[in-house]
Subunit: 331 residues, 2 copies
């Protein structure tokens, strides 16, 4: 069957199509397939520029149908101030993995946020204590919102703390998410205090210096370190990694652009100290949490596997529901 | 200024917008900027699959305005037979290099063919004998056509030989191009004879074994080796490289996926034996042809620099002429 064209999907189309619950299931499966050696290893390519840079992530998954994704994300930290444009912008090219046909072109923003939140949720499902009820969200933007939604899917949360350098943003987050999720959420100024009282902490800020210190963290806490996805980004004190059980999304990638990279550079941890890749825990090849008092860190740098998993859902639902516009680019 | 949307351009839009002459000028400039260290080094990423693979090329050029391109090309050799789809398909994402905004999404087929032909023409301009009048085109598809057009821009061609394993294709090529370019073109079965009589030979086939042998080539010939752009592809006998002056588009890339790679593997040449990158010859940093009887080979693997140069022309002309459709992907 020769396809009729390439489907164009805008950010709002994707937001309407992709739910966190289904995305978590797909991301969980993708990591598992990877750990079982049933996927092509995903790839990454970066081009740095004066004011920012471009990051390309590419991967392939066999999901009944074979799907390939190349995601180009631009990351320009001064964008809002200088141009009134988002920090991160980009495009996902979804192709048929069997014949290369470009099935869809999608805005990348929503998928990146949701698939990243989905990985946080999946990691929490396997690595947080089953009875975890209190979470701190450090960084109250879109990524923080989806992170809390994902956590609420897998743990019986009753309370959350919202921390942001922009206090108003934390306040809005607390009001809106507490209504949406039906749990108590407090915006806080004291990150140390909030984390000490939490079973789970998600860091998802653009920070370039450690903001989560080892001394803040109580035994048994699960930490999802989401913000660091390039060499210069960092949210965790390296000593916190050295004293915790560390699970990564992709070992080699985290060793270059994740929190792991900073701890390796400081020489206080080795790659051999890393407990597992998340997929290995999901697939049952390596242990996740083995004691209630372990501090476990998930180093999340983001992989094309997540993008493929999420984009495939979006595409299949868009086709079924008739969303998007079709263009025959090859004509 | 916040852009209003992303411009979509189909293959036919691009064919109507991009001329070989302007593309040659842009590609020449791009290689020169690169050789002068005035560009970010371009990048490449490959994902192999059972039936083919995906290749991503990314690069950035400052051309008055800063442009970034990520090109995703799918390469599935059995596509026509199995799916009625082209061997190569793909999408170019053109972004503003200063803020990352996705300016345009373009079909990649036409740009890939034209920018590759443009590099052949630019290489011939610097490396073929000035009085070259006879050319052999080995591989009479779209790439062969654009190659001959590009050669005709830079050398006073009077005759060409068209060789293809599909004789009918060679015949059509000879008829159509001879009319278009006003030169004598003969389709031939004897590649050795044709090459022996030629000043220039372009190989642009999907071959995986050497078809151009050292013994075919007369002194003074310029050869553009265009087909090989992945590890398994090969058109030239490695001994031909070892006995010729070799100029490459990108040294490190040719050492992995070009003709150079096969000669290196055979141990009959070293990277130090390579005369220059094309940009170094254009920029006057290294010598090109220094004697009329030198055999010179241009190993063309294709670079994102060419894609950026070509896509920028297409985009600017499309904006001026109102071609294409605008979609606000971020909406």
């Amino acid at each position: 069957m020769k396809p009729e064209g390439t489907l164009l999907l805008r950010r709002s189309d994707i937001a309407a199509l992709l739910g966190i619950e289904e995305c978590m299931a797909a991301v969980e499966q993708a990591f598992s397939l990877y750990a079982q050696g049933r996927t092509t290893p995903p790839g990454i390519l970066g081009i740095h520029t004066a004011g920012g840079g471009f990051h390309i992530k590419a991967g392939l998954l066999e999901l009944g149908r074979s799907y390939f994704v190349a995601k180009t994300n631009a990351n320009f930290p001064q964008n809002m101030k200088r141009f009134g444009l988002p920090l991160i912008q980009g495009v996902i090219v979804l192709c048929d993995g069997e014949n290369g046909y470009p099935l869809a072109l999608m805005d990348s923003m929503e998928i990146t946020i949701i698939r990243t939140g989905a990985a946080t949720g999946v990691a929490a499902k396997y690595l947080a204590r089953p009875a975890a009820t209190v979470a701190t969200i450090c960084g109250c933007g879109n990524q923080g919102r989806i992170s809390l939604r994902a956590l609420a899917e897998v743990r019986p949360l009753t309370r959350a703390y919202a921390f942001d350098i922009d206090e108003q943003q934390a306040g809005r987050f607390a009001r809106e998410l507490s209504q949406e999720l039906g749990i108590e959420i407090k915006s806080v100024n004291d990150l140390a205090q909030a984390v000490a009282e939490s079973d789970i902490c998600v860091t998802c800020t653009p920070s370039k210096a450690p903001l989560l210190k080892r001394e803040y963290v109580s035994p048994g806490t699960f930490i999802a370190a989401v913000g660091a996805d390039s060499e210069e980004k960092q949210e965790l004190e390296p000593e916190l990694l050295a004293s915790s059980k560390v699970v990564v999304d992709l070992l080699e990638q985290c060793a270059v652009i994740g929190e792991l990279h900073h701890a390796l550079k400081k020489g206080i941890i080795t790659k051999a100290d890393v407990q597992a890749e998340l997929g290995e825990v999901i697939a049952g090849k390596k242990a996740g949490r083995t004691a209630p008092d372990e501090v476990i860190i998930f180093d999340s740098t983001g992989t094309a596997l997540q993008d493929v998993a999420a984009a495939a859902i979006v595409y299949e639902k868009a086709i079924l529901s008739g969303k998007g516009v079709v263009v025959d680019l090859g004509a």
